[in-house]
Amino acid sequence: MNAGLGFKLSHLQSMLLFALVISVAFGFLSKRRPADRVKYIAWALFLFLLVGVGIGWAMYPFSR
């Protein structure tokens, strides 16, 4: 994939970036202490990726 501003992103990279940005935003908005934020961000990122990859695999049989 070739992005308009010059960066190339694959499907996985797009998903990773999206999950990271949203996890960081949720972590900062919902938690106050830095340690809590880090834990929340890591957990949210893990769940985002787990669900994303899980849905990807669930759709795999229908991709061809």
């Binding site: 994939m1 070739n2 992005a3 501003l5 960066f7 999206f18 940005v21 960081v24 900062f28 908005l29």
Partner: protein
């Protein structure tokens, strides 16, 4: 007698203070919507302000860079209208995205589809942040 008088004054002053607080919270929410992070910055929540600005900014730049669809007010159906509401959630960044996307949207490739989601998410995220700033200004959340 004196106690009753003081209680009466307090009963008048407290709603006035609440009304003023609500008005300030509303202004903070509007500011947070117009410029991502400004609502939290006005509340001196610097970390959250910086993060709101950066996360919404990154999503808008990526979305526009990937030529995502920026919905306009004259949509054809309910989905277009919802997309416009989501995109408008970024406040002034909506205009920035428009200026960044010089060649217009291109959703014929996966890039454009991802970009559309990035832009909409940026808007919804900013609305969530503005709501958070509103609640924090009212003293309900921090």
């Amino acid at each position: 007698m004196e106690e009753n008088k003081m209680a009466g004054e307090a009963a008048i002053v407290a709603p006035q203070r609440d009304a003023k607080r609500e008005a300030i919270a509303f202004v903070i929410a509007i500011a947070g919507w117009l410029v991502p992070g400004l609502g939290h910055a006005l509340l001196k929540m610097w970390g959250r302000a910086a993060m709101c600005f950066l996360t919404v900014g990154v999503l808008v730049v990526l979305g526009a860079g990937m030529r995502g669809n920026l919905f306009s007010s004259n949509g054809n159906d309910a989905f277009d209208s919802l997309g416009f509401i989501a995109d408008m959630g970024t406040g002034t960044f909506y205009l920035a995205a428009r200026s960044l996307e010089k060649e217009g949207p291109d959703v014929s490739h996966a890039d454009g589809d991802y970009g559309t989601r990035f832009l909409a998410t940026a808007g919804v995220l900013n609305l969530l942040a503005a709501l958070h700033a509103f609640e924090a200004a009212r003293g309900r959340k921090a």
